[in-house]
Symmetry: C2
Subunit: 214 residues, 2 copies
DNA sequence: CTGCATCCAGAATGATACTG
DNA sequence: CAGTATCATTCTGGATGCAG
């Protein structure tokens, strides 16, 4: 039950003892977006068995990475301050893994939380600071997000709202961000579908969010 | 055998599919220090079962993270360029885990490679750049290292050589680096044992290598 | 209904023995 | 030295049960 240890005295081995079990980093990823209820975690991590989710939540609590917090009648899980220190690690790991992503397969889901973190990994604050504030509406798989960029600040929320440009992208999302496909080409080929708004803002999106493939 | 996938289309899930299996990140950690033979990896990761090591090496090759390279009669494993891009991830994770380290337990080993990476995570190049070049000899558990700091450059090698100060530290190593114990106190209490050289250089060591506990 | 606990088949790991 | 083969143990995944 407790994470088996590696018998080594080192930072890495301690870290993987704490958060290296299967599913653990994905739980942490979703909690980086915000506190979540048990059921919210379960539906965000569609294929996690419920007993494994319960076990991981206990282990991560014991490790001091997350905690149960009562919020007006319901219980949510949230990162502790120490857990939140994993943010740079998760973002760096996500950036690395993003480069190895191919096109999404049919059985793969995109959740709002995972997409939010992926957007954070690809976000270029220095570039964004030079551009006017913009709100994008993005529909990707099952996730529908409003992405607000204001200076070097990024804010991603779920659901609708007023946006400057709204688009739907399946396989195109990664290609846009990797620079593999220019925005105009993406629209032409139908890989990205602009639903409404100023379609030229897709260029700005591609500038703001960029992660070159390896 | 192949890494089971999480059914999600995201950077993190892809990353943990590639390097999230048990022992994988420790193998990568040691390969970050330099190319290693099968037997070197096996002895650095004392408790890894040999079949698991063999399996991981194959999976990591298939993932494009490492490769087998023939070096004058023998075969070594080394990181691919893509694998080397994990360096910031491993260092960040190591820094996080280091903060959760307690005192070393008896059954825990310290290997030269793991210690080398831990020193890299704690190294402060900006601080080091202000200090004169210094060579430290450190004996920690089974690992005996020569640590050369020259400006903002750090070089850690195994074995002996001329150093400005040599010291042995058991539990003291972490406490020194975390700032939990001042160098003078460490020497007084016998937690750190200066073998020869200028003992006041331990202050410089503690300035150069620092990682505050959480 | 949410938040888990229990049960069981199958997969991964760990220990050890063995081979080219 | 560099792995492969075998087998006991542990963990995961999927289904289901159940208490607040």
């Amino acid at each position: 039950m407790a994470a088996r240890d590696y018998g080594q005295y080192s930072g890495i081995s301690r870290a993987v003892e704490l958060v290296g079990e299967r599913w653990a980093l994905l739980i942490i990823r979703d909690l980086l977006v915000g506190p979540r209820r048990y059921g919210e975690l379960a539906s965000g991590l569609a294929r996690i068995p419920t007993n494994i989710l319960a076990a991981r939540l206990k282990e991560l609590q014991a490790a001091g990475v997350i905690r149960r917090a009562p919020r007006s009648r319901v219980i949510v899980y949230e990162l502790t301050p120490y857990g939140r220190e994993l943010e740079p690690v998760v973002l760096a790991l996500g950036a690395w893994g993003f480069k190895a992503l191919g096109d999404p397969r049919d059985e793969q889901v995109i959740t709002p939380d995972s997409m939010t973190i992926d957007l954070r990994t690809a976000f270029r604050p220095v570039v964004a600071a030079q551009l006017p504030p913009t709100a994008y509406g993005a529909r990707l798989g099952g996730a529908e997000l409003v992405i607000r960029v204001n200076g070097s600040a990024l804010d991603v929320t779920r659901g609708g709202g007023d946006v400057d440009v709204a688009f739907a992208a399946g396989t195109g999302f990664r290609r846009l961000i990797s620079g593999e496909l220019a925005p105009e080409r993406a629209i032409e080929t139908g890989v990205v579908d602009v639903l409404h708004g100023r379609r030229e803002l897709l260029d700005r999106f591609a500038e703001t969010f960029h992660l070159a493939a390896a």
